[in-house]
């Protein structure tokens, strides 16, 4: 199969953009990505967005953004898979280009959390869980994560600050990302003193909801001139998997099946094993997710994922660098855009343009976008093309 490559990337700063609307935010990223791609014109637009119909009172976001970006007439659709919307939109763009039916695909992730304030946002987020059996009982994503974390800490005897390393690592990496919401390293005391959200999950065990937009221009390698300005990054592996929404329907709620299945399929597609992966972008909407993803993908055995954050393994100089630009925790969690930010950051890393956060000789990056507690997992393996 011919190579699907990332010809252009763009992203906005992640933060509280009170004064920038959904369409303007998306366009800012699109503009930069298309410029980065030398002006390539897309035939299809795939938008990753999870909550605009609720938060921004705006559905039909595909057509809206295509028109606003001056791409009137092209195919445009929104892809929704809760927090994995971005990864899922990327997969649709990849499939379109790989199939040969679409030459240039534009993938945009965008979210405007600040279009609503207060309890309405929690209510909107709760729609990503099982409405009839979880949300109606008052279950929110944070409550789900807290239950997972509590069970995990009980079964594996994790100490009270056992998860601190995830926040500390994320913030240390965020310091080197000018688009991150939080750009300062934090001290362990900050985690220890953090307010509880739902015992044992504290403020630093969950990523901040934020606004942001990120975009990618995908095409086939053969369609680009042989001398191309930016180092090319190929989407070498792509796979997606789904599971129950409700935690109580899981076989083992402390094992993210979808993380294992989708990462496994993507790696098989590339012919890659775990030690071939140079960095891993997990979906740290909650620190417990990071631990469970590390375990399911295979970087740690069950019950030991949290230790990789304690011993520095996930640091930029560690054995498996993670959240290389800050992750959800420090770069921020911009909803449906998150999965696209992962791809943009991974591409930046593989192009050798990550500055202070550059990993030497990075060739393969695994990015994994989750919806809910891995009710959806979309995994991609990005590869540097020399």
């Amino acid at each position: 199969m011919t190579d699907v490559v990332i010809a252009g990337i763009g992203q906005t700063e992640v933060g509280e953009h009170w004064d920038i609307g959904l369409r303007d935010l998306a366009y800012a990223a699109i503009h930069d990505a298309i410029q980065d791609a030398g002006g390539l014109k897309p035939q299809s637009l795939f938008v990753g967005n999870m909550l605009a119909p609720n938060l921004s009172r705006q559905a039909h976001v595909g057509a809206l953004i295509a028109d606003y970006a001056g791409l009137n007439g092209i195919e445009a659709v929104t892809v929704e898979a809760a927090g994995a919307s971005g990864g899922a939109a990327l997969r649709q763009g990849y499939l379109a280009v790989a199939s040969g039916f679409v030459d240039v695909a534009l993938v945009v992730g965008v979210e405007k959390f600040t279009d609503k304030v207060g309890a309405g946002v929690d209510e909107a987020l709760a729609t990503t869980g099982d409405a009839d059996y979880e949300a109606v009982q008052g279950m929110t994503p944070a409550a789900q994560a807290a239950l997972l974390m509590k069970r995990y800490m009980h079964e594996y005897e994790v100490p009270a600050d056992g998860f601190a390393g995830f926040a500390l690592t994320a913030h240390a990496h965020g310091a080197g990302n000018k688009n991150a919401m939080f750009r300062k390293a934090i001290k362990p005391e900050v985690y220890a003193k953090a307010e509880m959200v739902g015992d044992p999950l504290n403020m630093f065990d969950m990523a901040p909801n934020a606004d942001g937009a990120a975009a990618l221009v995908l095409t086939r390698r053969e369609l680009l001139p042989s001398s191309w300005a930016n180092p090319l990054v190929k989407i070498a592996g792509s796979a997606s998997s789904s599971d129950t929404l409700a935690l109580h329907d899981r076989k083992d709620m402390l094992y993210f099946d979808t993380a294992q299945l989708s990462a496994g399929k993507a790696m098989k597609q590339v012919g890659l094993t775990l030690d071939g992966i140079d960095f891993f972008e997990y979906h740290d909407a909650f620190s417990i997710f990071a631990a469970l993803q590390l375990e399911a993908v295979g970087f740690a055995i069950k019950g030991k994922g949290w230790k990789l954050a304690v011993d520095g393994s996930i640091g930029l100089k560690g054995s498996i660098p993670c959240v290389i630009m800050g992750g959800m925790k420090a770069r921020g969690f911009p909803g449906g855009a998150a999965g696209v930010y992962q791809a943009v950051e991974a591409a930046t890393q593989l192009r050798g343009q990550a500055g202070a956060n550059q990993i030497k000789d990075a060739r393969f990056g695994l990015i994994q976008s989750l919806g809910g507690p891995a009710s959806t997992a979309v995994s991609h393996i990005l590869q540097r093309l020399d």
């Binding site: 509280e16 009170w18 004064d19 600040t114 304030v117 207060g118 307010e195």
Partner: protein, 358 residues
């Protein structure tokens, strides 16, 4: 100091004006923030202030304004019939129609040859009355004008703002600069349409935009007003002895002070929110009375209010040698604050009329 930039947006009256008398009032009752937390969250840590002032059963913005006005009159030592305006700014005027100002004017003997009106702009209702008083006196329309900022703001039960919605305020008599204990060198107002906090008619409690009340509202307007006033006046933070900022909680004024180059010492005398709460339209006004209570001749003071909706009024003030003789002529702000009776949440609910009796 740099060369002042001539600015048509600076508010300077034709005749120099100043503060001839000032006074404040704080009710005696105190509700500790940890008592609010006890009822609503069960947590003991993290309240935004220590305690707030609560008006008693027979107190309201009218009674409180009258006492503050009397204190201002005692310091000014003027004939009340020479007041050509009595203006009260508040978010909690007892009547929607029937001005607080007429009762205050009558109580202090300023009627009938006087202007009277109620002002409204969330927490800057008092300072805008002060700006207008500058204009009335500075244009020669009147010898003296009184501007009061006073509030008994309601906090919605269980809302974050319930910890801080306090009661209190200050009264100022504006007159000619040569008679003043502090001159008002200039004022500047910065206003935009920013819906951070509001209350519709017939609603008992206000609503707010949570995090939207921070950067896009309070910080933007306070910073712009302060920066513009200082640039147009050729000053920086170092040129002031004291600064008073609107204080919805302890952190906001501390943070904006730091951003503008002021030290915590400079804002300390006027930072009352930790012990009386956010007195809304009275906040910047009473922060200034507490500062004037201890200021020395020559001290320069920057005052910046903030009203949701949104806007800020900034004032550049210099204390004169007339101040020391007048400071002790009426009860000082810290003396009112020290007069303290602690109440519990149940008593507070009764006092504030939160129990539906029908």
């Amino acid at each position: 100091m740099t060369t002042p930039q001539p600015s048509p947006t600076l508010l300077k009256p034709v005749k120099p004006v100043g503060i001839v008398g000032y006074g404040s009032y704080v009710p005696r009752f105190r509700l500790p923030a940890k008592e609010v937390a006890r009822v609503w969250t069960g947590k003991t840590s993290g309240p935004p202030i220590k305690e707030k002032a609560v008006p008693g059963l027979d107190e309201d913005v009218i009674t409180m304004s009258i006492e503050a006005a009397r204190n201002a009159m005692m310091r000014a030592q003027i004939d009340p019939t020479e007041l050509r305006a009595v203006w009260v700014g508040s978010e909690s005027h007892p009547y929607a129609v029937k001005p607080t100002s007429t009762l205050v004017a009558e109580a202090i003997g300023a009627v009938p040859n006087t202007q009277a009106a109620d002002w409204e702009f969330a927490c800057k209702a008092g300072t805008e009355a002060l700006v207008a008083a500058m204009g009335l006196v500075g244009s020669g329309m009147g010898h003296y004008a009184m501007a009061i900022g006073m509030d008994t703001a309601q906090g919605k039960p269980g809302d974050a703002l319930e910890y801080t919605a306090g009661a209190g305020g200050g009264a100022y008599i504006v007159g000619p600069a040569e008679e003043s204990l502090a001159t008002i060198n200039a004022s500047y107002s910065f206003v935009t349409d920013t819906p951070d906090f509001w209350r519709r008619e017939y609603q008992k409690y206000p609503e707010h935009g949570m995090r939207f009340t921070g950067e896009p509202a309070y910080f933007k307007h306070v910073s712009e007003a302060a920066t513009h006033l200082m640039e147009a006046s050729g000053t920086t933070a170092k040129d002031y002895k004291w600064a008073v900022f609107h204080q919805p909680n302890t952190k906001f004024p501390q943070r904006v002070a730091g951003q503008l180059g002021f030290s915590m010492d400079q804002i300390e005398p006027g930072l009352l929110v930790p012990i009386i709460g956010n007195t809304y339209a009275g906040a910047a006004m009473i922060g200034l009375t507490a500062t004037l209570d201890i200021a020395q001749p020559g001290d320069r003071i920057l005052v910046v209010s903030f009203g949701s909706g949104a806007g800020s009024d900034a004032f550049d003030i210099t204390v004169t040698d007339k101040a020391p003789a007048r400071q002790n002529l009426a009860t000082k702000t810290r003396e009112y604050i020290a007069r303290r009776t602690e109440i519990d949440y149940a008593t507070y609910v009764r006092f504030r009329g939160k129990l539906a009796m029908k």
